[in-house]
């Protein structure tokens, strides 16, 4: 019995280590970001990773508006084109496309244009590989 324990315990330890390395990697999960401008507050839900993604936006107050998102990477001097968001219910919008082209710290600009004018609200996120 003790012999088995000498073998099984290290085996379990090694299996746990391999599992942690394989499953516990740095894959980014969905992130919820909050920002507030002079007239609007915004909540952004997305998976911060390069490539195509979907950003779900909640704008308060939920007045009719044209909404778009873009991203800036200040460290690299890099900006991405605006992605137009389509309505998905009162105050809710969805934007799809490529927002980040590489890993690093990015600023997301949410542009909200309504009858009072345009406002850009910025939130920051860390984009993983």
């Amino acid at each position: 019995m003790r012999r088995r324990a000498y073998v099984v315990a290290p085996l379990l330890l090694i299996a746990a280590g391999i599992g942690w390395l394989v499953l516990g990697g740095s894959a980014p999960g969905p992130t919820e970001l909050h920002g507030r401008g002079a007239r609007h507050a915004v909540t952004v839900r997305l998976e911060p990773r390069p490539g195509l993604l979907e950003a779900r936006l909640e704008i308060h107050p939920a007045t009719p508006a044209e909404v778009s998102v873009f991203a800036v990477m200040p460290h690299m001097g890099h900006t991405t084109p605006e992605l137009a968001a389509r309505g998905d219910g009162p105050g809710r919008y969805v934007a799809r496309g490529e927002l980040f082209t590489m890993a690093g710290a990015w600023e997301i600009g949410i542009r909200v244009e309504d009858t009072s004018g345009a406002e850009v609200i910025k939130v920051t996120t860390l984009v993983g590989e």
Partner: protein, 443 residues
């Protein structure tokens, strides 16, 4: 059953012990040092290849983007610490852009000077010859992990063979080795070498330029020299701590007010804080020179100065004049750019296998019509490559045909733009004019 499992476990432990140190050597060596130089009428990039050890041969490649009239280029590397030097030369052939390799000798790591001579001009470029070497704490960590692996094997064997003393001794060694490895790893941030640049300390003062041309008012069609001398904004002394920034110490853009004249060149360093380039006056009137550089441990800076080429410009206002290569014109999206909002500018070069220049697949220089603003935008798809340890090499042709730039024009108005990329080692410049509207404007 137990024996089989023991054997399998031993094999796995040996495998892990073997794989760990090997991974330590899987990282890249330090990056190459690159210096774009406009010298003797040639546009060159001098690449000092990374060394894996010293003393050893030092590979230096001269990439001729514009060979001009060609001629010999003398290269010399000198150690600042012991004065040892090594020299070699390459002969650039007129009409043959491409890579010209040379082999010098590096005796030791540390601060060096690279001297480039051609056509009576001499540039002295400081750089640090780095040799990748694992720091002591890393060696300790990996050695401790290796000891732990061996001790683990010993403990298992001892237990399986009912050798209590061996098992206990090995288990103790295993525990001690793990403690040493993790403790050293946790303390490693305190062991980083002194002098390593800290990106958070962007504390250098500004640098201010003195832009001079010789002669003072170049005649139309005549050659002249443009000199940029940089002074520290706080001490008044020369600012001579420029870092390699996008493969050059200084990027100099010279444009005439009407945009008909455009040069993106890389002045040679002729003395402490003094950068100089030879040009030919091709357009009359006022010109502006913009120098873009980065001081070591600081962010990028842009300084500018003006000079005038004698003659009367009777050709009226215009945009830019350089011939547009065959292919589609650049396309902006949205078609009517609005100030303050990102604009995507794409250009179909019509060819694949474009080579990187200054670390990027393409460059977009934009200037407001009044010369008050100058922007330098990098090709969007190649920007991630530029952050890699090894930046894209000039010899690898893998970009194109489409180049994409994204930029927010700061103010409404007319902007003169120049897209630059490298095809078959030659620099291609595509001029373009972009009208930017104000937000809400219907015009």
């Amino acid at each position: 059953m137990i024996k089989r499992l023991t054997l399998a476990l031993l094999a796995l432990a040996v495998l892990l012990a073997w794989a760990s140190p090997a991974a330590a050597h899987g990282r890249f060596a330090e990056a190459d040092a690159r210096f774009a130089q406009t010298i003797a009428g040639m546009e060159l990039t001098v690449v000092v290849r990374a060394s894996v050890r010293v003393p050893a041969p030092l590979q230096v490649d001269v990439v001729a983007h514009d060979p001009g009239r060609g001629g010999p280029v003398e290269l010399a590397v000198r150690s600042i610490e012991d004065g040892a030097s090594s020299a070699a030369s390459v002969r650039i052939e007129a009409g043959r852009p491409g890579m010209y390799p040379a082999v010098l000798h590096a005796g030791r790591a540390g601060p060096h000077q690279l001297e480039v001579r051609a056509g009576g001009e001499r540039s002295v470029l400081p750089f640090t010859l780095l040799v990748p070497r694992a720091p002591l704490w890393e060696v300790i960590v990996y050695a401790a992990f290796a000891c732990a692996a061996v001790a683990l094997i010993g403990a298992l064997v001892g237990a399986a063979l009912r050798r209590g003393a061996v098992a206990a001794g090995s288990a103790g060694t295993f525990a001690v080795a793990l403690v040493v490895a993790f403790t050293t790893g946790a303390l490693s941030p305190w062991f980083t070498p002194e002098g390593a640049p800290d990106p958070e300390t962007l504390t250098r003062p500004n640098a201010q330029p003195l832009v001079e041309v010789t002669p003072g008012r170049p005649a139309l069609g005549a050659a002249f020299r443009l000199r940029v001398t940089l002074f520290d904004g706080s001490t008044g002394g020369p600012a001579d701590d420029l870092a390699e920034h996008h493969a050059a110490l200084t990027h100099l853009v010279v444009t005439s007010d009407d945009g008909r004249f455009f040069r993106h060149v890389h002045p040679i360093r002729i003395a402490t804080g003094v950068y100089e380039v030879g040009l030919r006056a091709e357009q009359p009137g006022r010109h502006r020179a913009y120098a873009e550089f980065e001081r070591t441990g600081a962010g990028g800076q842009l300084v500018s100065g003006a000079f005038t080429v004698d003659d009367v410009d009777d050709r009226g206002p215009a945009g830019v004049s350089a011939a547009v290569p065959a292919g589609a014109a650049p396309v902006t999206e949205p078609a009517r750019p609005v100030a303050g909002r990102p604009v995507r500018l794409t250009f179909d070069t019509g060819v694949t296998a474009l080579r990187p220049w200054l670390g990027m697949a393409g460059h977009l220089i934009v200037r407001s019509q009044d010369s008050g603003y100058l922007g330098h935008v990098h090709e969007a798809r190649s920007m991630a490559d530029a952050t890699a340890v090894r930046v894209p090499d000039e010899s690898v042709a893998r970009y194109g045909p489409r180049l994409e730039f994204v930029f927010s024009f700061p103010r409404p108005g007319r902007y003169l733009a120049w897209i630059q990329y490298v095809r078959d080692y030659r620099i291609v410049t595509v001029p373009h004019v972009i009208e930017v509207a104000a937000e809400g404007s219907t015009r």
